[in-house]
Amino acid sequence: MRDLVRNIRVLRWRVLARHGALALTTLFALIPFVWMLSLSVKPPEEIFQPEFHLWPQKFNGLENYSVALTAAPMHLFLINGLFVCATIFLLQLLVCVPCAYALAKLRFRGRDTLFAAVLVGLLVPPQALAIPHFVLLHVFGLLDTYAALILPWIISTFGIFLMRQFFRAVPDELIDAARLDGLGEFEIIWRVMIPVAVPAIAAFGIFSVVAHWNDLFWPLIAIRSEELSTPALGILLFRDDEAGQFLGPLMAGATIIVAPLVVAFLFAQQRFIDGISFTART
């Protein structure tokens, strides 16, 4: 009985310690966001004051946010972001799903070599390809267009890998049954594999959209025109002005572009976790 009590006590300490450690790391991750929110509602003179207030003495939120929304075509950036991310994702699926199906379920010479190539592709950082991509787009005269934002990303080795892992778990019998029922290979993909793989597609969608919504590096290289800017790039317009003067609106703009992702994440949290655990499982 005493042992039991002691065990429970030890267990409780362990739980507390674990949650304490997690809370601390969460705090570190959240501080910049809190900082951003705090700055986005402060008037310029308060931002550089020596004493710190989380909540401003003079609430300047309305002004900052209205500047953020009007000084730059923020709605245009958001629409661009939406269009670019959606197009990238759809084209990625068009490439990934058939590739993943072939790698997971078809038997052909060189399959393992191709899959090894996909794994190597996973290791290559996208920055390493920036200059070849830039040169290629220049040759085709596509720089500073939507195509420049989209084309380099449509072959996603990560997507091929993720979908292939998921497809491998689909029983072969199901595909054999489909072949006997008269489905061709593309129809098997369309009518059997995609409906079965909706969770994997959702997980990949989250990864893809988050990556390209937040991407600053590539749009910075590929885009010059303000009207083609994605949200992350658009935010930089505020930076160009007098230092400090626009920090409040800059943070307000950052809040606006982060908000859709945070909302989407809250809705799709479970899917996101599922998506990560797939790749770990198989």
């Binding site: 029983p171 199901l174 054999d176 049954a177 006997l180 029922d181 008269g182 009518r191 409906p195």
Partner: protein, 374 residues
């Protein structure tokens, strides 16, 4: 006209042969079972007939037409799988309608959204609906058409899988261990239903199983496969009474046939069991021997177990033949009306010499003719 003829079908995975030249004629309308232990190549053979795998050599003829190189859908065969392989995202109705839609609707008519508007689709869909409902009623699953496979029990999924195979009236049904995922009681019931279905449809059925009881109770003919070879093909009672190979004798029949190595017996016992020169193993079925007094028996030993099944009682006897190192386990059937036996009783076992099957060292059967000659 939908018999199947296999001639010298061979297949290997790398260096390991899976099928070693299988030749087999399956008659039109026949229920043929491929039976054998797991890994004997029976499922591979079925997949080759279906066109899901390609053989390395040999030919497959279905209904008088060489089908090598034809895709599964062009062979006029349907298959029922072990795990049913129903499409999890489609309703039972859509599962059963899919093979008909694939055959009757054009590519354009099958497109999502656009297809629904295309002219001429409506009457075809009506026809499909009618046929699916008819088949579903036949299998007693009419009330399940709007459900998803995940909401069905194992037996119901099995019926849906059968329905999906039946709905397009194929010439040949291929079944790959379709009963092995069901519980024992349901399995026995489905055996009867599948044989009844076979009688009603009159199509050719090729049924794969590792369960000799399924093979014996359902089939017109049974083909026993071992290690990629076809060992014997025949009617169930023929295989039981007249096995041509030791492995067939041991595989068919439950309880298993009793095998007595000839070397374990003395001269007198061998003579009493009518052993011929060259026989290395003598085998007799549990019902081909009598229990008698220990002194009067050809073999004798003590009872180690009594299995009372009601209609039959099986006695497990540990016999001790003259030259045997350890005990030789035998099983003998006795009628429940006779004498009662208890574990530990010492009894004699008297095999009927006319029903003793004899095998040479290679496991081949020594036939009665050869016995007379010798």
């Amino acid at each position: 006209m939908s018999g199947i003829a296999l001639s010298a079908v061979a297949k290997s995975h790398g260096a390991t042969p899976v099928l070693r030249g299988i030749s087999l004629d399956i008659r039109d309308g026949e229920f043929l079972t491929l039976v054998g232990p797991s890994g004997c190549g029976k499922s591979t053979l079925l997949r080759i007939i279906a066109g899901l795998d390609a053989q390395d050599s040999g030919a497959v003829v279905i209904g008088g037409r060489v089908v090598d190189g034809l895709r599964p859908k062009d062979r006029d065969v349907a298959m029922v799988f072990q795990a049913y392989a129903l499409y999890p995202h489609m309703s039972v109705f859509d599962n059963m309608a899919l093979p008909l839609r694939m055959r009757r609707l054009s590519g354009a008519q099958r497109l999502p959204l656009v297809g629904a508007l295309s002219p001429g689709r409506r009457p075809i869909e009506e026809g499909i609906r009618h046929e699916v409902e008819e088949t579903a009623a036949l299998l007693d699953i009419g009330h399940l058409l709007s459900r998803k496979p995940g909401q069905l029990s194992g037996g119901q999924r099995q019926r849906v899988a059968l329905g999906r195979a039946m709905v397009r009236h194929p010439a040949v049904f291929l079944m790959d261990e379709p009963l092995s995922n069901l519980d024992a009681k349901l399995r026995v019931q489905m055996r009867a239903e599948i044989t009844a279905l076979h009688r009603r449809l009159g199509s050719t059925f090729v049924f794969v199983t590792h369960d000799q009881a399924e093979a014996m109770t359902m089939s017109d003919r049974v083909a026993v496969m071992m290690a990629g070879e076809l060992i014997q093909v025949g009617a169930p009672d023929e295989l039981y009474a007249d096995p041509r190979d030791m492995r067939v004798a041991e595989f068919i029949g439950s309880p298993k046939i009793n095998v007595v190595p000839a070397a374990a017996l003395d001269q007198g016992t061998r003579a009493a069991m009518a052993a011929v020169p060259g026989a290395s193993a003598l085998a007799f079925r549990p019902e081909a021997a009598d229990i008698c007094a220990p002194a009067a028996g050809v073999l004798a030993g003590s009872i180690t177990g009594v299995e009372n099944l009601g209609a039959d009682i099986f006695l497990h006897v540990a016999a001790r033949p003259a030259h045997s190192q350890g005990a030789l386990p035998l099983i003998v059937r006795v009628a429940p009306s006779g004498r009662r036996f208890a574990v530990g009783d010492v009894v004699g076992v008297n095999p009927d010499p006319a029903r003793v099957l004899q095998f040479d060292a290679g496991g081949r059967r020594l036939k009665a003719r050869e016995r007379v000659a010798a």
